[in-house]
Amino acid sequence: MNRVRHRRGAEIEGAAARRFDLRRLLALIRKESLQAWRDPSTLLIAFVLPAVLLFLFAYAVSLDVRRVRIGLVLESQGASAQALAAAFAATPYLDVTFARDRRELTGKIVSGALRGYVVIPQDFEHRLAEPGGRPLTQVITDGSLPNTASFVASYAQGVVQTWRAGAGPEAPRAALVLEPRYWFNAELESRRSLVPGAIAIVMTIIGTMLTALVVAREWERGTMEAVLSTPASVAEILIGKLSPYFVLGMLSTLAAAGLAIFVFQVPLRGSLPALLVLSAVFMVPALGQGLLISSLARNQFLAAQIALFSGFLPAFMLSGFLFEIDSMPVWIRAITFLVPARYFVASLKTVFLAGDIGSVFLPNLLTMAAIGLVFFLLAKRATRKSLE
């Protein structure tokens, strides 16, 4: 008995002296997985929340403009004016209310019932007959919704031009006819670019938010102190903490991609391995950020707040997912270079809508990995100084 005990003692000392021990790591991973599996909020955040987000972005949020309500003031009684009015009524993109006097419509613009109106002036026939020169119609739009306003303006002009090109018999033939084609998303359906972008949001939630929360919880409940007082090294503790959430994030990505392709009919023009590699590399900065937040905050409430402001919101607004980066002011554009989601969203849009394009992926992958490395180094430093 005594000898057995002695031998065991030597064994323990040997294992403990090692800085990295696979069995300790596996024990930590097992513990973390059990905890994640038993905590209903983990599964809620990893699977239910992403599904809800994807459905919202696929169905509820739409950047497309359909059946915009506008007014049409028909001041002229001429046959051509009537024909143009009919052309307006026929387009599926506009919902037209007719009036004889612009005063009838001003109130409706103010109340928001109409988004703008088009005036066909009294001398319309006369202007039409003139060779070139004066504009044919006047367009008034509601500038408080800039996107819709510019849509109304350009679409109203489009209707007039089309009508003139086709129906206007005595109209001068245009020398060139512009026929635009949109690549990658021929119908300009916003869903097709939103759904891949939403995957980046989901991954940010799992990688950054969930990680920040679970690590902060260990500090809050005092278990981190207990584990730090065992022979386990900081590297083992951190890897043990993160690997289950890495796997969870990848599973969630697969589920989200499945939903995107089979339910929302978003094409996957690139390959699945490319998508998985991109997601895996994006998990590096996402997890690193979560880890850094929790080692600084060490309190679940604060960690959630910081993760929201430094992870979720930038991924939402500064990644090019919802708002195009090119239309941002220069200094905000500069900030977006620090947001890892920016590189992931660009890559996701490419892999879904364009295909496997190495020249796009490679710089993005490298940048994400570099940002991730910085986060990890900072987090390691903050954790080593542990209890100070």
Binding site: D39, A226, T230, P231, S386
Partner: protein, 587 residues
């Protein structure tokens, strides 16, 4: 438990006499010195108490010994390893149980054990004998599949201990293992630790309860980061021999006698103990004045065994005087009825869980009434129903004759409430906190200014007026909370754990005020887990598992627990006795 039941400790390293050597250790956080030039040695085979009030530096020292913190100056060695240079070896040689045990609440007992075993390089399968040994030792074998979060405080503590014992450490460090644990489980833990030290292990037990120090083989007494005493507790209490007395049989006069005794020049410290008063004379003081006081009151003056807490206060130069400036300035309370607080069949359910079950009692005007019980026994629930913060599921409660269910607002304006942890507004300054309390109770104009000024003077808050409450020392925080609760001079005062973590001198001062208030006719309701504080109460209600299991004077409760083996039981003994009787009846 026989010593042989304990898992054997590894033999100490040859050539090292001391388990722990602390050599000139200092540590500061910002401007605050947590530890200052600490020097001490801890021996193998002995239970060493690391004793001191909150903020004394106990946890900081524990963390330095486990290598989790590095000292700013000086060095520490545990089991022969330097805590900085040989940091990697510390976790192998020591077992550490942090405050709140460091358990994963969503893992089962067995999963927690396995995790800590593997982290220490052991395997449950290959070390089945060790697991069986630990489970038998902690008596956790029947609960291996239960989630740690669903264990009682006492069982959590035993599981935490089992996890810390996993690697058969030479030195076991326990950080406040007694907090949140009922007296019965604590008793169990003492027995287990005894068995471990008998096998040669060095055990360090940190605690803010000074009475726990008396059970330790040796004590390191910390006060504000400095070592106040190092040695066997009897050495310290021995200094009070011939200076510690009990005035017996005072009855209702005891509060007045205590106040008078404390104001005598030769008396350094005194507390109420049942129907009598215990006093400690200053070193070298004459016993004649106290003899005269006893003779005048017709009380018997008997020598009494000194307690560790008395010795600590003596070490710090004695406690406060006996007169409460707060109570002096207050007019006597005038109530129509003699019953200040009453409740009948008070019951509270939270879903399936019954937090309070048919609790009934009456509290007379001017009485100090204590609610005692382990965590989760229903103290706080009962308390909250009595001051209108919680609606009872069944039964009724009255405060100064007002029904709490119908006249909640009116009843609340007649009571003062001091919540656990003092609940002050952290974003307001001390002055603004006082102004808020005055405003919320409807004080205005000159009366308001005058009352606030009075509180500032009585509680000595002048230096802190513009500071936020969290920067105050704990004792001052407690004073501020009491000032806020008393702003409207309520006839009934509710105090929920008013002295947890506060140093003993501040506790004495606090009770001086409470005694003074009671003498003016203020009714005081108090919950506490300091068993000796229950002695200040006129009557004590003991709650256990949501039910009222005893209600009597402290003396009567203690008498009930007296036996041939223990002729002079403490309140804690009485409590353990009652709980055991209750458990037997239930079984």
């Amino acid at each position: 438990m026989r010593p042989s039941d304990a898992p054997a400790a590894a033999a100490p390293r040859a050539g090292t006499e001391d388990a722990v050597v602390i050599d000139g250790v200092s540590k500061r956080f910002g401007a605050v010195w947590a530890l200052r030039d600490l020097r001490a040695r801890i021996r193998y085979g002995r239970l060493t108490g690391l004793v001191g009030p909150d903020g004394a530096g106990k946890t900081t020292l524990m963390r330095i010994l486990t290598g989790l913190l590095a000292p700013d100056a000086g060095r520490a060695a545990v089991a022969g390893f330097d805590t900085v240079a040989d940091k990697e070896a510390i976790p192998v040689a020591t077992g550490y149980m942090p405050q709140r045990f460091g358990l994963y609440e969503d893992l089962s007992v067995m999963e927690n054990l396995r995790l800590y075993a593997r982290l220490r390089g052991m395997d449950a399968e290959r070390n089945a004998d060790l697991f069986a040994e630990l489970l038998a030792f902690t008596r956790l074998a029947p609960f291996t599949q239960r989630l740690a979060g669903k264990l009682s405080g006492g069982m959590k503590q035993k599981l935490g201990l089992a996890c810390a014992l996993m690697a058969r450490p030479k030195v076991l460090l326990l950080d406040e293992p007694g907090v949140g644990v009922d007296p019965v489980s604590r008793q169990d833990l003492w027995r287990m630790v005894q068995a471990l030290t008998d096998d040669g292990m060095a055990v360090v037990w940190s605690t803010a309860y000074l009475d726990e120090a008396e059970r330790c083989g040796s004590v390191l007494l910390l006060n504000r980061g400095e070592l106040a005493f190092d040695g066997p507790p009897a050495d310290l209490t021995g200094r009070l021999r011939e200076r510690s007395f009990r005035l017996e049989g005072l009855g209702a006069r005891r509060r007045a006698v205590l106040a008078e005794a404390l104001d005598l020049a030769g008396v350094g410290d005194g507390v109420i103990q049942g129907a009598g008063v215990r006093v400690v004379l200053r070193a070298g003081a004459e016993a004649a004045p106290i003899r005269a006081l006893a003779a005048r009151e017709g009380a018997r003056l008997a020598p009494a065994p000194a307690r560790f807490e008395d010795a600590f206060i003596d070490l710090l130069g004695g406690g406060p005087g006996g007169t409460s400036a707060l109570a002096e300035g207050m007019p006597p309370v005038d109530l129509a009825s003699d019953v200040a607080v009453s409740c009948r069949n008070l019951t509270k359910r939270f879903g399936d869980f019954i937090a309070a079950d048919n609790v009934s009692f009456e509290v007379r005007k001017g009485e100090i009434f204590g609610l005692l019980g382990p965590n989760g026994a229903g103290k706080s629930t009962t308390f909250k129903m009595l001051c209108g913060l919680l609606k009872p599921t069944r039964g009724e409660a009255h405060v100064v004759g007002l029904d709490l269910r119908r006249a909640t607002g009116a009843a609340k304006s007649r009571l003062g409430y001091m919540a656990q942890k003092f609940s002050l507004y952290g974003l307001l300054s001390v002055r603004q906190n006082l102004e808020f309390a005055a405003g919320v109770y409807g004080l205005e104009g000159a009366a308001r200014r005058e009352r606030i000024g009075e509180m500032i003077a009585i509680f000595d808050l002048g230096a802190w007026l513009e500071a936020p409450p969290q920067t105050l020392p704990l004792g001052h925080k407690q004073r501020l909370a009491l000032a806020c609760a008393l702003m409207h001079r309520p006839p009934v005062l509710f105090l929920d754990e008013p002295t947890s973590g506060v140093d003993p001198i501040t506790r004495r001062e606090f009770w001086t005020h409470i005694n003074g208030l009671a003498r003016k006719g203020v009714t005081v309701m108090v919950t506490t887990h300091f068993m000796d504080e229950a002695e200040y109460c006129d009557r004590v209600a003991m709650l256990y598992r949501a039910r009222l299991i005893a209600l009597d004077t402290p003396d009567a409760l203690k008498r009930g627990a007296a036996s041939a083996a223990r002729p002079d039981p403490t309140m804690e003994d009485a409590f353990i006795r009652l709980v055991e009787a209750e458990d037997e009846a239930a079984a």
